[in-house]
C-alpha cells in the first residue's frame, strides 16, 4: 500500500472507477436491441415481458451471488413476497402499478433485512438451507392465510394503467413489456453504478476472501446485509412486475423451482458482470418455449441435456463464455473492461 501518498492513490482509484463506469457502445446497443425486439415482435410481447422480469430476478441474484459470493436457494421468497404485496394492494382497490411496485420492493427489502443476519453465520451450505427454509415458510404462510392471499386458489385482481396512461392486459401486452423494460433498465443502471462504486469493490474483496477483507478494515457484515437488502428489493420488484402484468398470483411463486430456475439462468449467462442474468434469462425462456412447443411432455429432458452439455463443454468457462462472446463481437470494448 502506498500509505505515504493516500490522496494520489484515492485519485487514481476514483479515475479508474469513473473510467469503468462509463457506458460503452455495445451496452447501449444491447438495450436498444431489446427495445427494437419489443416493437418488432408485438405478437411475442407476453414472452418478452416474461424474459425481462426473469432477467430482473436473475440480476437480483447476481447482486448477491456474483458480486458478494452469497449463495441462495430461496431467492423466490422475495420474488413471491413482492408479487403478493403488489397483488394484495391491487385487490384492496389501490390499483396504481407504480405504488404496487414500490410496495413490493419495500416489503421484500424489509424481509431481506430481517433475514440477512441469518446469512452472516455459517458458510455456503448453511446459507443454502437457511434461504431455502425461509422461502418454504413464506409459501406455507401464504397458503395458510387464505383470507388475505386467496390460498391455493390464487388471487385475481385488476390493475390500473401505468402512470394513468398505458393500460396493461390482453390488449396492452406491449405496454406491459415496455413497463417491465423501463423498470429493468432503471434498476439495472442503479445496480451497475453500485457494482462500480467503492461499495462494489468492497463486495468483490468479501467475495474473494472475507477474512482478508475484514483485515483490510472493511465492515464485512454490514456490506453483506446492505447488498442482501438491495437484492431482496430487486427480487420483490421483479415479483411485483410479474403479478401486475399477469394480474394473478398463486402459491407456485414461492416454489423451489423458481429459485432453481433463476440460479440456472444466472449460471447459463454467467455471474458477476450483471448482463449474465439478462442473457441467461432470454436463453433459458426462449429455449424452453421453443422446445416445449415441440414436445410439451418431454421438454425438461432436452433442457437438462442442453445444461449438461453446457457444463461439460467447459465448466470453468461458464462464467467466461459471455465475456468471450463480447470479446469476439466487440474486442475493443472487452479490453477496456466493459465486462
Amino acid at each position: 500500500m502506498s500509505a505515504a501518498n493516500p490522496s494520489a492513490t484515492t485519485r487514481r482509484l476514483a479515475a479508474h472507477l469513473n473510467r469503468r463506469a462509463r457506458w460503452r457502445w455495445p451496452e447501449i446497443l444491447f438495450w436498444l436491441a431489446i427495445l427494437a425486439v419489443i416493437f418488432a415482435a408485438p405478437s411475442r410481447a407476453a414472452i418478452i415481458n416474461e424474459v425481462l422480469i426473469a432477467g430482473l430476478f436473475a440480476l437480483s441474484l447476481d447482486l448477491i451471488l456474483g458480486l458478494a459470493g452469497i449463495v441462495s436457494l430461496g431467492h423466490a421468497a422475495f420474488f413471491g413476497l413482492g408479487a403478493y404485496a403488489a397483488a394484495i394492494l391491487a385487490s384492496k382497490g389501490i390499483a396504481d402499478p407504480t405504488l404496487g411496485l414500490v410496495l413490493g420492493a419495500a416489503v421484500a427489502a424489509v424481509a431481506g433485512l430481517a433475514t440477512a443476519p441469518l446469512l452472516l453465520r455459517g458458510a455456503d451450505l448453511t446459507r443454502l438451507m437457511v434461504t431455502l427454509g425461509v422461502s418454504l415458510m413464506l409459501g406455507e404462510l401464504a397458503n395458510r392465510n387464505g383470507w388475505l392471499t386467496g390460498g391455493a386458489d390464487g388471487l385475481n385482481f385488476s390493475i390500473a394503467p401505468v402512470l394513468g396512461l398505458f393500460p396493461i392486459g390482453f390488449t396492452g401486452q406491449r405496454n406491459a413489456a415496455l413497463y417491465s423494460f423501463a423498470v429493468l433498465f432503471i434498476l439495472f443502471t442503479i445496480a451497475r453504478r453500485l457494482a462500480q462504486s467503492p461499495f462494489g469493490l468492497a463486495l468483490a474483496a468479501i467475495r474473494e476472501n472475507r477474512l482478508r477483507a475484514g483485515a483490510l478494515g472493511i465492515d464485512t457484515s454490514r456490506r453483506i446485509i446492505a447488498i442482501y437488502v438491495v437484492a431482496a428489493a430487486y427480487a420483490g420488484a421483479a415479483g411485483a412486475l410479474l403479478a401486475q402484468t399477469t394480474q394473478i398470483v398463486s402459491l407456485d411463486l414461492f416454489d423451489f423451482h423458481r429459485s432453481a430456475d433463476v440460479m440456472l439462468m444466472l449460471i447459463i449467462g454467467g455471474a458477476g458482470y450483471l448482463y449474465g442474468g439478462l442473457i441467461g434469462a432470454s436463453a433459458f425462456i426462449v429455449l424452453r418455449d421453443v422446445i416445449s412447443a415441440a414436445t410439451p411432455e418431454y421438454w425438461e429432458f432436452w433442457i437438462g441435456l442442453a445444461l449438461v452439455i453446457l457444463v461439460l463443454a467447459g465448466r470453468e468457462r461458464i462464467g467466461e463464455a459471455p465475456r468471450r462472446l463480447i470479446a469476439f463481437f466487440a474486442p475493443r470494448a472487452a479490453r477496456r473492461g466493459v465486462a
Partner: protein, 391 residues
Amino acid sequence: MISRFSLLAAALGAALLAASARADDNTVTIGMILPMTGPQASTGKQERAGAELYIQQHGDTVAGKKIALVVKDDASAADVTKRLAEELIGNDHAAVLMGFGLTPLALAAAPVATEAKVPEIVTAAATAMITEKSPYIVRTSFTLPQASAPMAEWALKNGIKKVVTIVADYGPGVDAEKWFSDTFEKGGGTVAEKIRVPLKNPDFAPFLQRVKDDAPDAVFVFVPSGQGAVFMKEFVERGLDKAGIKLIGTGDVTDDDLLADIGDSALGAVTAHHYSADHDSPENKAFVAAFEKANNGMRPNFMAVGGYDGMALVYQALEKTKGDASGDALLAAMKGMSWMSPRGPVSIDPETREIVQNIYVRKVEKKDGALYNVEFATIPDVKDPYKAAKH
C-alpha cells in the same frame, strides 16, 4: 462489428418470431393448456389423450373446418397459463381454449377469455366458483359440490350417522367439506370433526389416528387424485378398516388411473363420482377399448373423459353454428347442448355453463383380477348445487 454484437438480440428476436405459427381461415385452432410436467403431469396426459382420441374417432374436419389441436405445457404455474392463453389467442388465433389442470390455472385464463371473447372450456379443475369468473367459461369436468352432496345423501340413507371429514386444504377440498357436511347435517347426521390436511406432501397418519379416536361410522375424504394411494395405505395400516370405520368420499381418492397401484386396501371404499371406467354402457365400452388401444393399455380416468367431452362439445357447437368459429356464436351453441358421453347423458346448463350429469355411487370391487369402481346407484341429472343454491 457493431452489427455483429446486435446479432445476439436479433437472433433471439428471430427465434421468437419463428415460434409463432399462422393458421389459415379454414382451420379452427383449439388451444389446450395443461400441466404436462411436474406433479400434475398425469392429469395432462389423460386429458390430452382423451381429446386426441375424440379427434381420431371423429375425423379432423367438422362443418367444413379443419380442427387443429395445439397442446401447451404450463407446468402448473398460473403466470405461464396466462401467457400461453394470450399467445394462443393472439398468435395461433385459437378459437377455443381448453384444459386447465388446477383452479388457479383456470382462473388465470379467465380475464383473457373475457377480453378476447373466446370460450374457455374447463375440462379438469373442479372448484365450483370457477364458471362465475368469466361469462365465457364452460365446464365439462365436474364440481365438488356435485359429487359431495349426493355422497352425503347416500350416507344418510344407509345407516351412517356420525362422520369425520378429511379434505386437502384448498378450494376443491373446502368445497367438498362444506357441501358434504351441510347436506349431512341437514339430514340429521353428525359431523364429529372437520379435518383439513396440507395440500403438499401430507402425512395422513396423525390425522387418521384422530379419526380412529373419534370412532365415527365413516370417514368422508377428498384428496387430489394423486394422493389417494398414500391415503388408502395409511387408512389400512392404522387399522381403521378393522375398527369398522367405512371409507366414503368423492371419486378422486379411488381414481381409475391409480386404482391398480392402490391395491386391495381400496376394496370396499364407497365413493360418489361422475365417471368410472367400469360404467356399463355401449358408449363407455367402446371408449375404454379405443382409449386403451391408443395409449398402451392406460386406463382412462375422469380426466380423460373431461378432455374427450370438451372436444365433443367443440365439435357439436361447430356443427350447430355451421362452421362459424367466432367466440359468441360458439358460446351460444354450447349453452344447452346435450349429448351422450361415455359417462352417461350430459348437458350444459344454459344459465350457469356448468355440466349437468348423473352422479353414480360406486364401490371398489375386484373384477377379472383388476380393481374397479363398480356403480350400484345412480342419481340422475345433478346440477351443481353451489349455483343452484344461489339462484
